[in-house]
């Protein structure tokens, strides 16, 4: 399951999480983001229990996008222990995302 993330909860949901956290930075006007959404959803089901999955709307949460220097969307960032451990820019097929996240599980 991919949950909606907002700036206010970023610390609690991402920084203090004990499992790896995957955040999909997206916006409603971005075509490739719309395509990536269902793919991330599938990945989250496949890796359920091993990593937490969130999506963050950059329009509503620009502060977080800026803090993590997201200059192109979709961008997927993997956090572990509150630190950025991996970053992927642009759409990717499911297998690539699973590989990316699995490295940190």
């Amino acid at each position: 399951m991919v949950r909606e993330l907002i700036s206010k909860n970023f610390g609690e949901d991402v920084i203090n999480s004990s499992t790896p956290v995957v955040v999909d930075f997206w916006a409603p006007w971005c075509g490739p983001c719309k395509m990536l959404g269902p793919v991330i959803e599938e990945v989250s089901e496949e890796l359920a229990g091993k990593a937490e999955f969130f999506k963050l709307n950059v329009d509503d949460n620009g502060d977080i996008a800026q803090q993590y220097k997201v200059s192109s969307i979709p961008t997927v960032i993997v956090f572990k222990g509150g630190e950025v451990v991996d970053k992927m820019v642009g759409f990717r097929p499911k297998a690539d995302i699973i590989k990316l996240v699995s490295k940190h599980i």
Binding site: A27, W29, C30, P32, P38, E42, V58, K69, S71, P93
Partner: protein
């Protein structure tokens, strides 16, 4: 939405051969390209190495190809595919706002000589982008440079200029432009995109622009940007003997997979790709 069995991108010999074989196998195909088929083909003065057609011009060979696909009732869809997304059990093919769906895809997109700019790949996603309309809101109040190769690039620049604090437009094509007045047009040749952790400037032959972001908007899209996640090798699409790429259900044929760049080699590969796609379809049904 109708989901095609095979979507073929490209109307050179590889794409056309793939199309006729898909049709012979009774698959529901869609072929994207243009009515001239291939610029390289119609420009060839004399061809002596296509078996069965000695001493033929490119235009004559093109006419033979045309007769062949017409006889098989294969139509060419004149739309330009901007992106192909591997969704898992199907592919989404994007034409601006429009989407097509196909179970398999054959890339027969030829080979463009144009190399990426120095720094382009390095700063991708860190200031460099290929879709200005996608990322423009992230540059609200910032300086954006657009390296534009066509008319559509100008439209995108106009859109960006409504959000960015400053837009530079490096014009790479000839002819009139229809850019907004607040855009600064630059007639110079870009050489390098430079920065540290993020883009800082575009270095040109005769000057440098300080910028927060750079969008490169070209006619032809590099294969790995057309299909995100596609694996390349030495600038060509990596395939095995079955013309399979690293993405399941996605095949490639012709110049885009490597040298030698020859018509009949392309056609042969198009055929293999098509037959493998047919095989894959029967397995996944």
């Amino acid at each position: 939405m109708e989901r095609f069995d095979i979507a073929i991108i490209g109307t050179g010999p590889a794409g056309l051969e793939a199309a006729i074989n898909g049709k012979i196998r009774n698959k529901n195909i869609i072929l994207f390209g243009n009515s001239d088929f291939s610029n390289k083909l119609i420009k060839a003065p004399k061809i002596n190495n296509y078996l069965g057609f000695n001493d033929i011009s490119g235009i004559e060979l093109k006419e033979k190809f045309q007769q062949h696909i017409e006889a098989m009732d294969i139509k060419i869809n004149n739309e330009r595919i901007n992106a192909v997304y591997a969704m898992g059990d199907y592919f989404a093919l994007m034409v601006n706002e429009k989407t097509y769906e196909a179970k398999t895809v054959i890339l027969a997109i030829g080979m463009e000589a144009a190399k990426p700019l120095k720094g382009e790949e390095e700063f991708l996603g860190r200031g460099v982008g290929y879709c200005a309309t996608c990322d423009a809101p992230l540059y609200k109040g910032k300086v954006v440079t657009i390296i534009g190769y066509n008319k559509e690039a100008e439209e995108e620049a106009n859109f960006v200029s409504e959000l960015a604090s400053k837009v530079y437009y490096i014009k790479m094509d000839k002819g009139d432009s229809s850019l907004n007045e607040n855009i600064k047009v630059i007639n110079d040749k870009p050489v390098e995109i430079s920065g540290e952790s993020e883009v800082k400037s575009v270095v040109m032959k005769n000057g440098t622009i300080e910028t927060d972001g750079v969008f490169i908007l070209k006619d032809s899209i590099a294969p790995n940007h057309l299909v995100p996640g596609l694996e390349l090798e030495d600038g060509h699409i990596k395939v095995n003997r079955a013309m399979e790429t690293n993405i399941e259900g996605l095949y490639a044929a012709g110049d885009c997979i490597g040298k030698p760049y020859q018509y009949i080699k392309a056609a042969g590969e198009g055929q293999v790709a098509s037959l493998k796609a047919v095989e894959y379809l029967s397995k996944t049904k």
